[in-house]
Amino acid sequence: MKQRPSMLAAAAALTAAFAVQAQQPPKKAPPPAKAAAPAKSAISEEFEKFREVLEEDNPAELFEARGEDIWKNKKGPDGASMAQCDLGLGAGVVKGAYVRMPRWFADVGKVMDAERRVVHCMVKYLGYKEEDIRKQPFSNVNKTPDHVSVITYVAGQSRNMKIAVPQKHPQERATYEIGKEIFAYRAGPYDFACATCHGNDDMRIRTQDLPNLRKPDQAIRAYQGWPGYRMTGGFMLTQQWRMNDCFRQQRFPEPTYLSDTITALLTYMTVTANGQLYKGPGIKR
């Protein structure tokens, strides 16, 4: 698409003028004409019913077990282990850590989301090479990488806990605010932002309900079920993958794995969902 950089300067100058306006709650767009066929259909209810059946025995548990084995038994070249990994609650503490990230980590001077922190620890203590992990960050039908299994284990250790992402450190608050901006930022050939599909109530793409991630009770849906066992192909996918694929469908370029952008976006969405109950690794279409 044609980009017009010269216009950006002008548009930036408009920021001030619009700031006041933007603070007003946006007028609600008129509701789309209701479709003749059932809107929230019997189909979604049928899906939900059997989704529950599938979640009762979720193959994600197989990956949790694999991750637990790595966490507890694997040793790095110097004999170090994940027992030294601080996920924010002290060295080796896994219980409840997943629902308390992203958070500020003083040792690296960064806000990190869960996946970023886990990978950081696997590199630091177990001798994994970051460039290897970046070669295949996400699972595919042939392989679910070790770090994905470890994240699945860590997530499982926060099953049935409330999300409690801290916002005390100034950087945690700033990261939230930046994430909020990224969420609303429209660009690319389709003019899409995250908010285009996930900023309003009661919308669907095809038969899939779109949660309004600006609201706490719906923002949990960006979090719930991740990491998720993907039915098609039978492997685990994480929130980092979900963000990556959202940007693909948003027609954006590819976000770097474990980048600040993704951490910021996850911070915004997770803080919005604070107080909601996380049910552990899930199952995804």
């Binding site: 698409m1 044609k2 980009q3 017009r4 216009m7 950006l8 002008a10 548009a11 930036a12 100058a13 408009l14 920021t15 001030a16 003028a17 619009f18 700031a19 006041v20 306006q21 933007a22 603070q23 946006p26 007028k27 789309p32 004409a33 209701k34 479709a35 259909s41 700033a174 605010e177 930046i178 994430g179 901006e181 990224i182 609303a184 429209r186 660009a187 690319g188 050939p189 389709y190 003019d191 899409f192 285009t196 599909c197 009661d202 919308m203 669907r204 793409i205 095809r206 038969t207 693909r248 469908q249 027609r251 954006f252 370029p253 590819e254 976000p255 770097t256 600040d260 952008t261 993704i262």
Partner: protein, 201 residues
């Protein structure tokens, strides 16, 4: 267009930028750093164009005067078919409407994309798997007519939805060359052709 924007900026500037402007600047800098070209999805896609920039800075609700000016500008950029024919083949249109492909980094260069229409709209009566981000278009031609003016409106709206509603959620399919002239004609036919199932009883 630049001139218009500068004029608007000058007339509206003066208010002190709030803190959220700083976060936006940080967010944009961060994205420019973190997004990389993959396949056909080039890194420069994270740069805003003018319409996007205005919508981004106004929570999709720009002041009316600005919206009207920019809509007019977008409207003038629409290129209608040289032969004056706006209706194609509704059957080809239905196929296009079904396809959600196009413009992602997993799409190949040079392969025609789809219209993505059912992702957001109800259209034909046979397809029950449709989205509700946009309004239902079922019976569109029957309810709104299918004369030359309506054909021109629908063609233009698919070409560049922003010409009619500056911060519409709908992509500017013709403007960004996501759909060709012939493809848009087929979609116009899907909505307006009396033979199209969209307009069946």
């Amino acid at each position: 267009m630049n001139k218009i924007l500068f004029f608007l900026a000058a007339s509206l500037a003066g208010t002190v930028a709030l803190a959220d402007g700083d976060y936006r600047a940080e967010a944009i800098a961060m994205m420019k750093h973190d997004f990389k070209t993959k396949g056909i999805a080039t890194a420069d896609r994270v740069n805003e164009d003018g319409v996007q920039a205005v919508c981004n800075r106004s929570g999709d609700h720009p002041p009316k005067t600005i919206a009207e000016r920019l809509e007019k500008d977008q409207l003038e950029s629409i290129r209608y078919p040289a032969d004056g024919k706006l209706m194609g083949d509704w059957k080809a249109g239905e196929k296009l409407a079904q396809s959600g492909r196009g413009m992602t980094w997993s799409d190949k260069a040079g392969v025609p994309g789809g219209g993505n229409c059912y992702n957001c709209h109800q259209i034909g009566p046979a397809e029950t798997s449709f989205g509700t981000v946009g309004p239902s278009l079922y019976q569109f031609g029957k309810l709104r007519g299918s004369g030359p003016d309506m054909q021109k409106y629908v063609y233009g709206r698919i070409w560049n939805a922003k010409a009619f509603n500056l911060c519409s959620a709908m992509p500017r399919f013709g403007h960004v060359q996501a759909l060709t002239e012939a493809q848009i004609k087929d979609l116009v036919a899907l909505l307006l052709d009396p033979q199209s199932p969209v307009n069946s009883k």
